[in-house]
């Protein structure tokens, strides 16, 4: 694992006015005329312009999720829970241009023989990227099917060589008030406490399905979906799939994840999708797939029982929510 030191003459990409930014400014001026029409139109157009910069990724297709009917890119990128921006699900798509996903480093530390810092470039270049189609089920009762691009988490963890003391993995989202408006100092009531923290048990983290995603629908992740790198744990409720990760720490004790900290009667550490255990306020038996007026049955472990069921054989899933 190498850490590339940047030479003095290095100008970071965002200091250079590149063509995309130039065009963006031009577009912005053009949009000025549209101001006479409607400000919401502008917000949407600008958000669209921001997205132009997302580059295509090279990846291998896989058979994961073959036969599942995909949701559209539009649906997956305009219905987001990202409280660092807003509690509204449509706002993140309009606000997320403040997040700067490049350059970006992820630190791997704690109970490992090989602590390391990996940059986005490392992930793009030194791991084989693959596409996996997964079901995604939110604790709120909606769901979607998304083609993620990324790498198996275990490939990354193996390079760091977890020690025998590593029993859990703790993930942390970026804290930066300049990039995340809800983190502004002096905000009286932030939506949630920061940083956002999530965790997995070691066997869960090493499971074949556990995925670090850097893209979707063939391209880099849009900011509102957790750019540049996020976790995807398809058999757990969506809040486990933490976004915009800056650190992965291997630890001995079960980390306290954000939603459990906020309300441990309703949200637990495991958060396995389970149609037989309701949320105290609403049923989890069925789900609303985005774009549909009809509900469909929710599957045990979100349909991944074969791959993950064995990890919870002896656990009371009513207790360990």
């Amino acid at each position: 694992m190498t850490i590339i030191k940047k030479p003095d003459w290095y100008i970071s990409e965002n200091e250079v006015t590149d063509e995309a930014l130039f065009n963006k400014r031009r577009n912005f001026l053009k949009l000025g005329a549209a101001a006479l029409v409607s400000s919401s139109v502008i917000a949407e157009k600008l958000a669209a312009v921001e997205n132009v910069k997302r580059e295509s990724l090279k990846f291998q297709k896989t058979t994961f999720g073959k036969g599942l009917e995909l949701n559209s890119y539009d649906q997956a990128s305009t219905y987001n829970n990202f409280y660092e921006f807003s509690t509204s699900k449509s706002d993140p798509a309009k606000m997320a241009h403040t997040l700067k996903p490049n350059p970006w480093d992820v630190e791997i530390l704690g109970e490992v023989e090989n602590p390391m810092v990996i940059s986005l470039e490392d992930i793009y270049n030194s791991y084989p990227l693959e596409e996996r189609i997964y079901r995604f089920r939110c604790v709120e009762g909606w769901s979607m099917v998304v083609p993620w691009i990324g790498v198996t988490l275990s490939h990354i963890l193996q390079k760091a060589k977890p020690t025998s003391k590593a029993k859990y993995v703790k993930f942390t989202t970026l804290v930066d008030p300049k990039q995340f408006p809800d983190q502004k100092a002096g905000k009286l009531f932030p939506n949630i406490p920061y940083p956002y923290v999530e965790g997995l048990r070691m066997d869960e983290a090493m499971n074949e399905l556990t995925f670090m995603s850097v893209g979707m629908y063939g391209k880099m992740l849009p900011n509102q979906n957790g750019a540049p790198i996020r976790l995807v744990v398809p058999w757990k409720y969506g809040f486990k799939s933490i976004k915009s990760i800056v650190s992965i720490e291997l630890v001995e004790e079960e980390p306290l994840n954000t939603w459990k900290m906020i309300n441990d009667l309703e949200y637990g550490f495991y958060a396995n999708v389970n149609p037989n255990v309701d949320h105290p306020r609403w049923s989890q038996a069925k789900e609303r797939k985005l774009g549909s007026f009809f509900k469909t049955e929710t599957l045990m472990f979100n349909g991944y029982e074969k791959e993950v069921g064995h990890m919870y054989k002896d656990m009371d899933l009513r207790r360990y929510i």
């Binding site: 219905y79 409280y83 939506n191 309701d278 306020r281 609403w282 049923s283 774009g291 007026f293």
Partner: protein, 183 residues
């Protein structure tokens, strides 16, 4: 004339819902939100007419607003029964008995239904005392709305504030009456 204008304005949320729901990502949730929030806001506005009476007397519109609040609550309930529960009566009963979030809504809806039925001139004369129950509806629905959220935000604090103001005004009237009686 003014009456039909108000009627039209109170229909706008429905028109908006019908147009926008087609592009909603999560239509069932979207219908809950639009109908629920419309019902609650119209309810609060209708209750504000009483304290506003001193400044501008619009009491004659109170009944229409109350009925519209009920109308949106009815659409909200139908969304639950038809799209969410898919006509599954067992599911509806189980959820209602099981989940405070749902039974608070059901109690509130039942009271609104009762008020809608007894809002005719004849029945109102007999039942008007019972229409004070609307303040219970307000409290229940504000709790219900807050329970629909994962974290409380500005909208919830605004609804709670309005509830305190409206109930506070009622308590004030009650005390004035009581003091007069004592004399």
């Amino acid at each position: 004339m003014k009456r039909s204008l108000l009627f039209f304005v109170l229909l706008l949320p429905l028109l908006y819902l019908l147009i926008s729901v087609q592009s909603a990502n999560d239509p069932i949730k979207y219908i809950f939100t639009c109908t629920g929030i419309s019902s609650l806001i119209i309810l609060i506005l209708s209750l504000s007419l009483t304290p506003l009476k001193k400044i501008i007397n619009l009491i004659k519109y109170r009944r229409m607003m109350g009925l519209f609040s009920f109308f949106y609550a009815l659409l909200h309930f139908l969304n639950f029964y038809i799209l969410d529960a898919q006509f599954d009566v067992t599911f509806v009963l189980k959820e209602t008995l099981d989940k405070p979030f749902i039974y608070l809504g059901m109690i509130a809806f039942s009271i609104l239904l009762f008020m809608a039925i007894t809002s005719t001139r004849k029945l109102f004369a007999k039942f008007n005392k019972w229409h004070k129950l609307v303040y219970i509806v307000l409290i229940l629905v504000v709790i219900h709305e807050a329970m629909a959220q994962k974290v409380l935000g500005n909208l919830e604090f605004m609804f709670i504030f309005m509830t305190i103001v409206l109930l506070g005004y009622r308590a004030f009237l009650f005390r004035v009456k009581w003091l007069k009686k004592k004399k």
